[in-house]
Amino acid sequence: MGRALYFPTAVSADLTSLIAEAERGDRAAADALFTALYEELHRMARRELSKRGAGVTLGATTLLHDAYLDISAREGAAFPDRNRFMAYAARVMRGLIIDYVRSRQAQKRGGLFEMTSIRTDIAAAIPEAADLGRLSDALDELATVDPRLARIVDLKFFCGFSFGDIAGMSGVSERTVQRDWEKARIYLHRVVRDPIPGV
């Protein structure tokens, strides 16, 4: 695939080895991986939007999908399969979206980057950045208790994957994913307690 050559990479970190180290439990590597993926996704979002111009949408799912194609082409055969990639990238996407909401709320418009797939039409549905922050903290807590549940929330709520998509990625049935989603909601609701307005 020639795309990796076409778009010079902004990230020098070798994601393949960062993922390997993170999977071995290396905290520092996990942090570096987060940062590297964050920059990567951010950069790609900007790039796609400037390329396609206004009026064309860029969904989180598509962004992740493109990111995987790009990165795996660049990193070569040793790069983890798509599902392992998504496990990390989904968490990063959550950070990206929260930052976006935060910056947009601070600046009303523009901000970190313009991600047109984020709802602009139904203002009421946009959660407060603070609420999302609390949700994110609760998710991190859930990740220590039952990482699979946390991952489902990242993939569904923050990345927009369907239950079917997630089932395919996790190799379990759609029904199992749905049930886990309900369980995750219960857990998070308990932690966050008072409901996030508008969410």
Binding site: H65, I118, D121, R179, E182, R185, V199
Partner: protein, 841 residues
Amino acid sequence: MDSGRWLRVSGHLDRVLDLPPHAREASLVALRTEDPECADEVAALLDEHRRLTDEGFLDSSPIQRDEPSLAGVKVGAYQLVSRIGHGGMGTVWLASRSDGRFEGQAALKLLNAALIGRGGEERFKREGTILARLRHPHIAALVDAGVSSTGQPYLVLEYIDGRHIDRYCDEERLSVDARIRLFLDVQAAVCHAHANLIVHRDLKPSNVLVTRSGQVKLLDFGIAKLIGSDTQSASTMVTNEAGAVMTPKYAAPEQVANGAITTATDVYSLGVLLYELLTGQHPAGEAPKSPSDFARAITEVEPIRLSAAVHNAAAPDAAALASSRGTTPDRLGRLLRGDLETIVNKALKKNPSERYPSVMEFADDLRRYVDHRPITARPDSVSYRTAKFVRRHWRSLAAAAAAVLLLAGVIGFYTSRLAAERDRARLQADRASTLSELLTSLLTGADPYRTPDAKEPTVQNLLDVGAARIARELGGQPEVQAEMFTVIGRVYQRMGLHAKALPLLEQALAIGRRTFGSESVKVAYSLTELGVLQRELGNLAAAEALINEGLAMRRRLLGNVDKDVAVTLVELARVLKDRGRLAEAEAPIREALAIRQQMFGDEHRETATSKSELGLLLWERGDLAGAEPLLRENVATSQRVLGADHPNVAAAKASLAGVLLSKGDAAAAEVLLRESLATRRKVFGEAHVEYATALNSLGNAVEVQGRLEEAQMLFEEALRITRPQLGDEHARVAVMMLNLARVQIARGQGAATEPALRHVLSVREHLLKAGDWRLAQAKSVLGASLLAQGRDAEAEPLMAAAAAGLQPVPGPQGRERLANRARLVTLYEKLGRPLEAATYR
């Protein structure tokens, strides 16, 4: 809530959430009696769930999923109306013709530009035109394929309002027959496309819709290829992209393996689809954990039998499954057994050439089934399955697991049969031997003496699991259990896994003594086998005692002229030799040879082996002239009787080579040793101790001819293989260490050898009797090492002791004796002690 508490209630929560909301509270009644605290907790969480559902907690995501901004946008001649689908490939929109030429609706797919790649537009349009010509009542037509002015590739398809075929079948509670008839329509469509040289490549339920009127419509024909690039790997990747998100659930083995994609690929995917429509499950069973597991399952695991799938533990609910097919689980199981199973199996063959040659023939057989006519596909015979099974060499854990299942099935079968038999005692012996025969035949694939290219790691796994099952499940039938332990123990032993064999053979002996009494042929057999193993493990005293006990028992039970008595005599002689009692070893060897000549004649492998044993003994005692003809006869007879590639022939050649080397004919020895090495590599593989031993022997012949660097490499390689398997305390390892050290000293690397040589000496002091020449050999080489380090004073006593212990016996002993004496002469001359120098000259 801490993680311990959460995980404790988590399982209950799963169960409760699976129920419809109104039934949830009631289901806690049972839990409340056994664990009220937990029940309260679950109830509280359910309450939480009700509240969050009411609030719509997390219902709407901060990112949009319906992209309303695109509605109304024009793409080519179409106007987007609303989004109807979304996948890795892109998004699907309901669209209407904007120029008014065509009334009605179409489905418009906006593809990720990445999927066609740069420069792919022309090909995309060209192939799109070909696909657009494909017209069939059961195929959703491709109306147009193009790239918009903004560079967005898109496809326009006939819009189908329908349900996925699997959902349709379940929701309409179609019977097995009705499902097959619907499936025949799917096949007709695929057939038509194949006739037009178009392969679907991505058949799966979401690509097969059924309309409200019950019409089947296949979507996305050929599109996987259309959006694929020219290279194979990219096209399979895209197939994956086009899938439900990378799970290659419907991919054929050749797709997973990047093989050629043909119409046979669609035959396979149709097989999976039919399997799912009939059983509600995937042929590989419960979804594996990761896509790579799935890929492995597709390429390696045989599908679960159709009828078994119904009762499979993984089945969500056999009753629900059956009821959605308008029947009961038992009836469904019976319905799927036989012809349907055979048909589906044939479509799901891993090897494309074993599948139905075309979808047409697949469909014909199904039609025959529906019409109650005989089908053409034949069920796999037992011998076919077994042959296939053995051919695969348990390459994967999954296959090993299947073998264990088979094993367990065999055991289970006999267990129940035996229990039902009235005359148990009489029948058990028969059954046990049949059983062990069966098992032996199963395991022959793992025995290097039978099939040369067995893959050891997974065979080992198979054996491990098998042994555990035997221990667990056959306690009630000690006779069978003892025999099974022996069989598995022997296979371990032959694989060189001696430590694993030991507990099994020990248990077999203990069970045998309890069950058969103190005096029995089976106990005598166990004694001998265990003795042989102990010898291989280097426990020589234990080995001698066991073998003597076995020998005496066999003599009493079988008489003096008996083939098993001869075997035991040979083993006894080997132990005696290993313990350095060469003189004592000659009598049993000669007795064994006499028995075999009397019973089998000269042209027999066992007679030949006896000659070899005797030859080796004579050689070791210095009688080269006596040894050589015996060993030559052994090579000739073994080759005739066993064939050139048998490991025994390799051993025979190595022995003869040893004698030739002792005689000074190193070049002839080398030829034989290279032949022997080649055979062992072929038969045992390069990780086996026997192969390493051959490397070591070759090293000797090479060393004698002065090619020291080559010899060193051979010894090093031999050690690299043997040390982890036998451990450093093993006599064979000691021999190799000593050989390596000697070459290193000769090459001027003497200083490095001292620790190894001290180790060899201590091992030999432990294993051998005082006075054994090999002790002297170790001292001699250690002396040489110290000498090379300039530590003359320490070297001298060792060398002098060695000189006393080494006799002028041709071979390694004689060679070491000469070398040692030469070193002594040099040393004493250097020290100015000419008298002593003269003694060794």
